[in-house]
């Protein structure tokens, strides 16, 4: 029963994503799933640890380029490419993390942005002989079909991405409910208090940083497989705020915020870009509106209302039931 209570929210969320796949175009569904995986790391850093990062595209690019290099120069198996993306993302996060997590939140945001800019120029100019500069790496036709789920086939890739997304969410839900999740929240609320209890804030932050950015690298590797090419545009400084926008749009620190935010953002991008040339302007206005409305984002606003509605209904049913029994 407890397990059911633990799982039902996740199962429902991903069931809705499956339903979405039936009614909406496949590219949209794939984009939403990958984008939500991309955002959950940022959401965890901001909502749980209190770190705002404008450099998430850096880690996305690390995952994507690691997979891209493998597909271009070494092999063609999408599964291996994804694993390489994750491992390289983990290593990069582990290398830069000890330096970055010592910084206070505002400097942390900027140093990550600087890393994104560095990687952008590395891929675009410095390493152009092997990255093909702005043209990027193209390997779509090199990818070999895989057994069970053929990742070179977009509809089967969606099932794979959905499973990966579900596993990622289950992992973050576990983190949220664990004592480590409480430690992260403690570090965000008041790091001194956590130190009084005997915790090393540095280790807590570093672990969160590595987990979040390895997840982002995973999203990068998924993009690399799904799109069949990687270009420096993935880490363009102009895209640096995307995950932060989606995090705030969905609801900072909420488990389902990244999914809701990714649906809303991708949806608006698709719909508005057909109507308006400067669709990003509308996103800007929407963000201002959300901030003024209470900073909770879409899911952050909806969740308590849904709970209230659900529990009120459950409570009235219980009351009705007991009345009936009394009668």
């Amino acid at each position: 029963m407890n397990a059911l209570r633990w799982w039902w929210g996740l199962v429902l969320a991903f069931a809705l994503l499956v339903v979405m796949r039936v009614f909406l175009p496949l590219p949209f569904a794939n984009e939403v799933v990958i984008f939500s995986i991309y955002t959950i790391g940022c959401n965890f850093l901001l909502g749980r640890v209190g770190f705002i990062s404008f450099g998430q595209p850096a880690y996305l690019a690390v995952g994507a380029y690691a997979a891209g290099f493998y597909f271009t120069y070494f092999g063609a198996n999408p599964y291996i490419g994804i694993v390489i993306g994750i491992v390289v993302g983990f290593i990069v996060a582990l290398i830069v993390g000890p330096f970055f997590v010592r910084l206070r939140s505002d400097y942390f945001a900027l140093v990550n942005l600087a890393l994104a800019v560095i990687i952008y120029f590395l891929m675009q100019k410095v390493l152009a002989p092997i990255t093909n500069g702005d043209n990027g790496l193209w390997y779509l036709t090199n990818l070999e079909p895989t057994p069970v789920l053929d990742l070179t086939h977009p509809s089967q890739f969606f099932i794979f991405a959905l499973l990966v997304g579900f596993a990622t969410w289950a992992f973050y839900k576990y983190l949220d409910d664990s004592i480590y999740g409480a430690c992260c929240l403690g570090a965000k609320i008041n790091e001194d208090k956590l130190t009084f209890l005997g915790y090393d804030n540095f280790r807590i932050r570093l672990t969160a940083f590595v987990i979040a950015n390895t997840t982002t690298a995973l999203a990068g590797a998924l993009y690399a497989v799904y799109l069949g090419f990687v270009s420096p545009e993935i880490t363009s400084p102009t895209r640096a705020v995307d995950p932060v926008v989606v995090t705030i749009l969905g609801g900072v620190g909420t488990l389902y915020g990244p999914i809701v935010g990714a649906i809303a953002y991708t949806g608006m991008k698709d719909v508005l870009s057909q109507i308006l040339v400067n669709w990003e302007l509308m996103i800007g206005f929407l963000l201002v509106f959300i901030m003024l409305a209470g900073e909770k984002g879409i899911w952050g606003t909806l969740e308590p209302r849904l709970k209230k509605l659900f529990f009120r209904k459950a409570a009235s049913e219980t009351a009705g039931g007991s009345k009936a029994r009394t009668a």
């Binding site: 409480a182 929240l185 609320i189 956590l194 009084f196 209890l197 005997g198 915790y199």
Partner: protein
């Protein structure tokens, strides 16, 4: 324990915030199962003394020893791990976490999940387990903070102004708890409530403008009017 039997020895401690010197050649001794009180007016350096012992401030000079181990230069979480727990003054708990989660944080750090000793001292916490700590009263927060600190059986508790702003009934309850706690740990309490500390302390240090003005030992010597004389 050191040769002189102290659980904590502070020797010739000088602490400064930048250019401003706050503590001048402070000497403090704490023996096992002793309640030591530091009294003094606002700005006397009481909290600075506790924070220096707990590892939050780096002394300019002097020694802080527990047994034969020097605490100077150790980080605060290492000192907490050695069983020297600081309970800060501001009563700010992790407000978004429940009482249970707050206690779990204390347990996980110390490896001690025996919450009975916490609820024995503070039975009220039992009913508040699922309440977010942000919705506790000042007294309940203080109970939670002390409760969290005693998990793991610390050898020394550093308690900063525990009764500030609390109702007399809760102050009286805390007084009894401190006496009980002293049977297992030593306590250093920083307090402005002279009648309270004089009722429970075995040793009192009177601080004024960063200097120890007097060290009072024994029931006879520790009286509010005697402390007042040095402040």
């Amino acid at each position: 324990m050191s040769a002189n039997g102290d659980i904590l020895t502070v020797n010739q401690l000088n602490v400064a915030y930048g250019e401003a010197k706050v503590l001048f050649d402070v000497d403090v001794h704490v023996r096992p199962n002793e309640i030591v009180a530091c009294v003094g007016r606002n700005g006397a350096g009481k909290t600075t003394l506790l924070k220096s012992i707990a590892g939050f401030l780096k002394p300019a000079s002097g020694a802080i020893m527990t047994g034969s181990t020097s605490l100077v230069g150790l980080t605060a979480f290492v000192i907490a791990g050695m069983g020297i727990k600081y309970v800060p003054q501001d009563k700010r708990v992790f407000s978004d976490l429940t009482v249970r989660e707050n206690l779990e944080l204390g347990s996980y750090a110390s490896g001690d999940y025996d919450w009975d000793k916490v609820t024995t001292y503070f039975p009220k916490l039992k009913q508040l387990m699922d309440r977010k700590a942000g919705f506790l009263s000042g007294g309940e927060r203080q109970m939670l903070m002390i409760g969290r600190a005693i998990l793991g059986g610390p050898k020394l508790l550093l308690v900063d102004e525990p009764t500030e702003g609390l109702a007399p009934s809760i102050v009286s309850h805390l007084k009894d708890v401190f006496v009980e706690l002293a049977k297992k740990s030593a306590l250093v309490i920083v307090e402005q409530n002279l009648p309270l500390v004089c009722a429970i302390a075995d040793r009192v240090y009177a601080l004024n403008e960063g200097r120890i003005m007097a060290e009072l030992i024994g029931r006879e010597a520790i009286r509010p009017e005697a402390c007042e004389k040095y402040l």
